[in-house]
């Protein structure tokens, strides 16, 4: 408790610091992204959630034998990685975005020429390069693998392969936004728990399995809007500008419209 109070006090003090008003340099963000991506992929929270996902779906592996059985089993393994990495994206991105505050580095970082936005952008870019990159590779390999066999080609779905990395990015951006507005290590886990154990999971569709092309397009628009909305929300904490407010409001408005549009008549 005392530590969290001290952290909050440090944060309050550092927030009074006059920050660099320049926008972060792209090369600074790219260099930070490399480090953040590496740290996120190796972070125990990410590795544990992936292991948890595999454990969750291990019962499905080996259920089907014979021709194509191996591929189906691999698909379940991929699904395990996917479930784990979706949860892991929230937690790992949240921890990465909290790191400077948690480690009492706001004072030192406040004396450096790169503004706070550089670190926020670095973590978000790290989510794209690291977690999003891994999801794209895993989703792509699963799709290519399924496509190769007659027995499994009907299960191959490019739409799933595309929306999986986008969902990882959206959840990673959610983790960063939560860290910027709720400066506590409990923020990320609470978001995951609230998401899974309440009705929110049905309100915010992450993975959609619709056959309708229009619903698919709305879902992709929804994911992109959510990514932009959460990323904008994270940057809004660093500095409030009219443009950023408009981006956040516009992105979430689009997300609401897209969520409604893709919902089948009568609901899920």
């Amino acid at each position: 408790m005392a530590a969290s109070v001290r952290t909050a006090f440090d944060g309050a003090r550092a927030s009074a610091v006059p920050s660099s008003r320049s926008l972060p340099q792209a090369r600074v963000v790219a260099a930070l992204a490399r480090i953040e991506a590496r740290k996120m992929l190796r972070h125990p929270a990410f590795l544990l959630t992936v292991a948890f996902g595999l454990l969750l779906l291990r019962g499905m592996v080996g259920v089907r034998a014979g021709e194509g059985g191996l591929m189906i089993n691999l698909v379940w393994l991929v699904a395990g990685v996917a479930v784990g990495s979706l949860i892991g994206a929230v937690l790992t991105a949240n921890v990465a975005a909290l790191r400077a505050r948690r480690d009492h580095l706001l004072e030192l970082f406040g004396s450096l020429p790169s503004p706070a936005e550089a670190r926020t952008a670095g973590v978000l870019a790290g989510v794209v390069v690291g977690l999003g990159g891994l999801a794209a590779v895993v989703g792509g390999l699963a799709w290519v693998g399924l496509e190769r066999f007659d027995d499994t080609s009907t299960a191959a779905d490019l739409f799933l392969a595309v929306q999986y990395p986008l969902s990882v990015l959206a959840l990673g951006a959610l983790g960063v936004a939560v860290a910027r507005w709720i400066p506590s290590v409990l923020g990320g886990p609470l978001v995951v728990i609230a998401h899974v154990f309440t009705g929110i999971i049905w309100v915010l569709p992450w993975i959609a399995t619709t056959d309708s092309d229009i619903a698919r397009a709305w879902h992709l628009a929804y994911l992109l809007a959510v990514i932009a909305g959460f990323a904008g929300l994270a940057f809004l904490r660093d500095r409030r500008t009219v443009l950023r407010v408009l981006v956040v409001v516009g992105a979430f408005a689009l997300a609401v419209v897209a969520a409604v549009q893709q919902t089948p008549p009568g609901g899920y």
Partner: protein, 288 residues
């Protein structure tokens, strides 16, 4: 005397009901300046202002010729500044190299090869080259302080602000620190706060003593030592007129205060001057 690189004019700062700085004013030129004072004197508050992480409530501050209150000028200062906070934080899961590299990126060193060379240079300068691949959580307290010093040295900044850089360092590391800081070229400005008067005597061209948010003394270490001239003597026991007295290894008492006639006066140190200066003020306030 060269043009001042730090200009402080009538600076005030309050935190709630506490006044941290009240009308602080002095100039600092290139070279090493030591900031002495008891806990709560306002040293760290002043250094935070010099590091551009805290704004004064009132007064005028210019660093390297720029006004830190103006956004563009503040950025220009930060590009030429190295800062080691009193309680430096660390990314504990990073290695020493990774952490200093991370700070180097935030210092806008974007060329990867040149940046890594610079990170190796500063880690080598603080004697951490052999443990640069070790995680910070596995390093000792003294090593961590050297990591903090290494990041401050990145890019050979024009203005180096160090808040108690030798706290927690062993004697050998302190000597190495002196060597490192004194090696810096004469056109750089180093501002360091410390409780170690030996460091000030050994390193600094100028010294500023603070007490209760005000400047009590500004001058050379020799001038501060002169404050105790004729006021330090050895005796067999504690003298009644001594403000401070302690038994030395030889068995004699070293007395500091108003020496009696015929006292066995000895050469004062900078620490004697500092103790008398701070003690005189406290004595005057008590009397008032």
């Amino acid at each position: 005397m060269t043009a001042p690189t730090i200009e402080i004019d009538d600076i005030h700062k309050r935190f709630g009901h506490t006044t941290a700085l009240r009308g602080v004013a002095f100039d600092v030129s290139a070279g090493i300046t030591g900031l002495l004072g008891p806990n709560g004197a306002g040293k760290t508050t002043l250094l935070r202002m010099m590091a551009t992480v805290l704004a004064p409530d009132d007064g005028r501050l210019r660093l390297l010729g720029w006004d830190p209150h103006a956004a563009d000028e503040r950025l220009a200062i930060r590009r030429r500044l190295g800062y080691m906070p009193q309680e430096p934080g660390f990314h504990r899961s990073f290695t020493a190299f990774e952490f200093v590299d991370y700070v180097a990126i935030l210092k806008e060193m974007t060329d990867r090869r040149a940046r890594h060379d610079e990170v190796r240079r500063v880690l080598d300068a603080v004697g951490l080259e052999s443990v640069s691949g070790r995680k910070i959580k596995a390093l000792s307290g003294g090593m961590r302080r050297r990591v903090a010093l290494a990041q401050a040295l990145l890019g050979d900044p024009d203005l180096l602000v160090l808040d108690e850089p030798t706290a927690g360092l062993d004697p050998e590391q302190r000597l190495r620190f002196r060597e490192l800081v004194s090696d810096r070229t004469a056109d750089r400005t180093v501002m360091l706060s410390t409780h170690q008067t030996e460091d000030v005597a050994a390193l600094c061209q100028r010294v500023v003593v603070m007490l209760d948010g005000q400047v009590l003394f500004e001058g050379t270490p020799g001038e501060l030592t002169d404050v105790a001239e004729g006021r330090v003597w050895l005796a067999d026991a504690r003298a009644p007129s001594a403000r401070l007295s302690w038994r030395t290894a030889s068995g004699a008492h070293r007395n500091i205060g108003e020496a009696p006639a015929g006292a066995d006066l000895v050469a004062p140190t900078l620490e004697d001057g500092y103790l008398l200066l701070v003690g005189d003020r406290a004595f005057a306030e008590e009397a008032a």
